[in-house]
């Protein structure tokens, strides 16, 4: 298994290099380092969510509610700011809202035993609705958003540390943290084991429910972080900040090698896939491809890559079946009549 994952990650690195070569050839400006670095600000928030989502999916669950939770947490921050709550406290409130929302998901999944996809689909509407209601409450109405943030907050979105965007550094730090958590700790091991076989985990005395709950809590937390990052980047908190992250984030996790059935995947793969998807969009844009088409291509990429992976897994069986058909000897038996 480990060997397979490593090979998969190597394939992702190859894909990334291929993108650099192709887009660099089309438009040499693409390879400009500062251009590459700044480009990441457009998609790093997707990565921030894809990190905990990898854990959710490896442990056998799924979460789609983050897409509206990003907006909800941003709105919580915006409303707190609107009422003059000091900046650190407002940030803490947004993060707490994210964790609470994650706990809400985990509790419903645990106590109703309904599939996580359905539960988080329900909370996708609930959180989105709550965000709309909240922003309506302070008169921000609809989708224009809540602004007027302190300069300290909005400047973070464009802050550079040694020429590297602060948002990118934040993502890389989170990525390192999650990679350590998943690959080097007891908790990460439990995430894998629970995803591979909930039954065997229960028989081994692992706290299946608690492990899964923790992954949803982490997703809530990271959705809040993503909401804050986006608010800072755009200078306003909007309800729909996260709606466009739903598919790219899940795509990144699946493209990164995680099995939607749980038990398999790696954080390094997810991180690489985030950059593969992000730079694909960017490169296509710089090559003059309309943004609509680039979204089609990333959808197509997911389909092709996953179909190839499943297809190659099935190939040996197909070959065996073919050989069997070739060697089946129609000996002295009456040949079957085609009466169907």
């Amino acid at each position: 298994m480990k060997r397979f994952v490593l090979r998969w990650e190597a394939a992702l690195v190859g894909l990334l290099v291929l993108e650099f070569i192709v887009f660099g050839a089309i438009n040499p400006r693409f390879l400009n380092p500062s251009n590459l670095l700044y480009g990441t600000s457009d998609f790093v928030h997707i990565g921030i969510i894809a990190l905990p989502l990898t854990l959710v999916i490896i442990s056998g669950g799924i979460d789609v509610s983050f897409a509206s939770l990003v907006g909800l947490c941003a709105i919580v921050f915006g409303v707190a700011n609107f009422f003059g709550v000091p900046l650190p406290l407002a940030i803490a409130m947004a993060l707490a809202a994210g964790v609470l929302a994650g706990a809400f998901n985990a509790a419903i999944i645990h106590f109703s035993r309904i599939q996580p996809l359905v539960v988080t689909l329900g909370s996708l509407y609930l959180f989105g609705g709550a965000a709309t209601v909240l922003s309506g409450a302070v008169g921000a109405g609809g989708y224009e958003g809540i602004g007027n943030f302190p300069a300290a907050f909005t400047s973070f979105g464009y802050l550079e540390i040694f020429g590297v965007p602060a948002i990118l550094i934040l993502f890389l730090m989170l990525a390192a943290l999650f990679a350590v958590l998943l690959h080097l700790t007891r908790f990460g091991r439990a995430v894998y084991l629970v995803g591979q076989s909930p039954d065997a985990s229960r028989y081994s005395g692992l706290p299946v429910g608690r492990v899964q709950a923790a992954t949803y809590l982490l997703t809530g937390l990271c959705a809040a972080i993503a909401g804050l990052v986006l608010s800072s980047y755009f200078g306003s908190a909007r309800v729909d900040l996260g709606t466009a992250t739903l598919l790219p984030a899940i795509t990144a996790v699946v493209l990164g090698g995680a099995s939607i059935y749980g038990g398999q995947g790696s954080l390094v793969g997810t991180i690489l896939a985030v950059f593969v998807i992000g730079f694909l969009q960017q490169g296509l844009q710089m090559a003059g491809v309309p943004s609509q088409v680039s979204s089609a291509l990333s959808g197509g990429l997911l389909v092709v890559v996953v179909a190839l992976r499943h297809g190659s897994a099935m190939l040996p069986n197909l070959i065996a079946a073919g050989q069997k058909a070739m060697t089946a000897r129609p000996r002295r038996f009456v040949e079957e009549k085609t009466n169907d």
Binding site: V64, S123, A130, T132, P290, A296, G300, L302, A307
Partner: protein, 354 residues
């Protein structure tokens, strides 16, 4: 009582819907009028069609999240064909063909390549939306001919040709799932795939055709959309796939496959649409819509889950209780029945399953 609720999901939903209508009617006189009903019906047509298609897929224990994009893609094809001067019937035919083809590609990925349906349709969600946008060049398709808009015109009884079409689809689907052998295969495939295979049911073709049906339904929804709105924006159908899944779940279609009915989905779509209209009547700001829809969906889900758990527990308790009682009463007669087996059987355990 619990079992009654669990077994008659559709009836329960129907009663709740009636009660809701009644309550809203009391709070906001004027809501319970023929014109409101007509509006609710007309507003629910697009979601209804998409939900029917999604239901076919969910019954086979798969999921389709690409239907919103299929709707957009086929609507765009319809608009472009019409504006290119192709006659309406042919244009509609092409549109539905495109939808079925998109569904067939989903089906190929899932039934042919064994890609998990959520992953496959997640990919095609982006793919089809991009195809649509590259077809239209990112521009909205406007100035659709009058012929298609006429489809949405009131026929004098509050409904339109579109209403008739949707009711026809509903009837056909209901008959197909309830009355035909192939309809039964859909449920069997989703209920217990291994058992279905064992009984010689062509499991893969069933899954494939479910996706084709879902694509065709989404395309038909695209026709309705174009006729009702009169133009085709870029984001046509965006997000409707999630609404359709929610409507299915609310309508008693189990995501675990094998359970569901067209009637349940019909009622639940009407219910969800009525809530939207009711908010207007109750003078509740429109921004409460999603919150209320989400709260209702989650409440129903949690209730449903708890009821199912209670029923399961009861069945389990009954099984062990009766197992006990039966075996105990049986045991005295046992010695005579199996009087001293001549040869003890060293391997009484069933063969480990391969």
């Amino acid at each position: 009582m619990l079992e009654l609720f669990a077994r008659n999901r559709v009836a329960t939903l129907f009663v709740i819907t009636l009660l809701t209508f009644g309550a809203i009617g009391l709070a906001a006189p004027g809501f319970l009028s023929a014109s409101t009903l007509a509006t609710v019906m007309a507003n629910s047509l697009v979601l209804m069609l998409v939900s029917f298609g999604t239901m076919l897929v969910i019954i086979t224990r798969n999921i389709d999240v690409s239907s919103g994009s299929v709707l957009g893609l086929s609507a765009a094809v319809l608009g472009l064909s019409l504006n290119a001067g192709i006659a309406l019937p042919l244009a509609i035919g092409i549109c539905i063909g495109v939808g079925a083809l998109a569904g067939a590609f989903n089906g190929l990925l899932v039934a042919g390549f064994g890609v998990p349906s959520i992953v496959a349709t997640l990919g095609t969600l982006g793919l089809y939306r991009g195809l649509m946008l590259s077809l239209t060049g990112g521009r909205w398709i406007e100035a659709l001919p009058q012929s298609i808009k006429a489809l949405a015109a009131n026929l004098g009884w509050g409904g339109s040709v579109l209403t008739l079409i949707v009711l026809g689809v509903f009837l056909i689907l209901w008959l197909f799932l309830r009355m035909t052998r192939q309809g039964g295969y859909f449920f069997a495939t989703g209920d217990n795939r291994e058992a279905a295979r064992h009984l010689g049911i062509p499991v893969r073709s069933i899954v494939f055709s479910a996706f084709v049906g879902a694509g065709a339904c989404a395309a038909l929804a695209g026709v309705v959309f174009a006729a009702q709105i009169g133009f085709i924006p870029n984001q046509a159908g965006n997000g409707i796939e999630l609404k359709a899944i929610a409507a299915n779940v609310l309508g008693g279609v189990s995501l675990l496959g094998g359970v569901g009915s067209a009637v349940g989905v019909f009622i639940s779509v009407i219910f969800l649409t009525a809530i939207d209209s009711a908010l207007v009547f109750l003078r509740i700001p429109a921004f409460w819509n999603d919150f209320i829809a989400g709260a209702i969906l989650l409440t129903v889900l949690v209730l449903d889950g708890r009821v199912r758990m209670a029923v399961d527990r009861r069945i389990r308790a009954k099984r062990y209780a009766s197992h006990h009682g039966a075996e105990r009463t049986k045991s005295p007669s046992r010695p005579s029945a199996t009087a001293a087996p001549a040869i003890p059987t060293p391997h009484t355990a069933p063969e480990a399953g391969r």
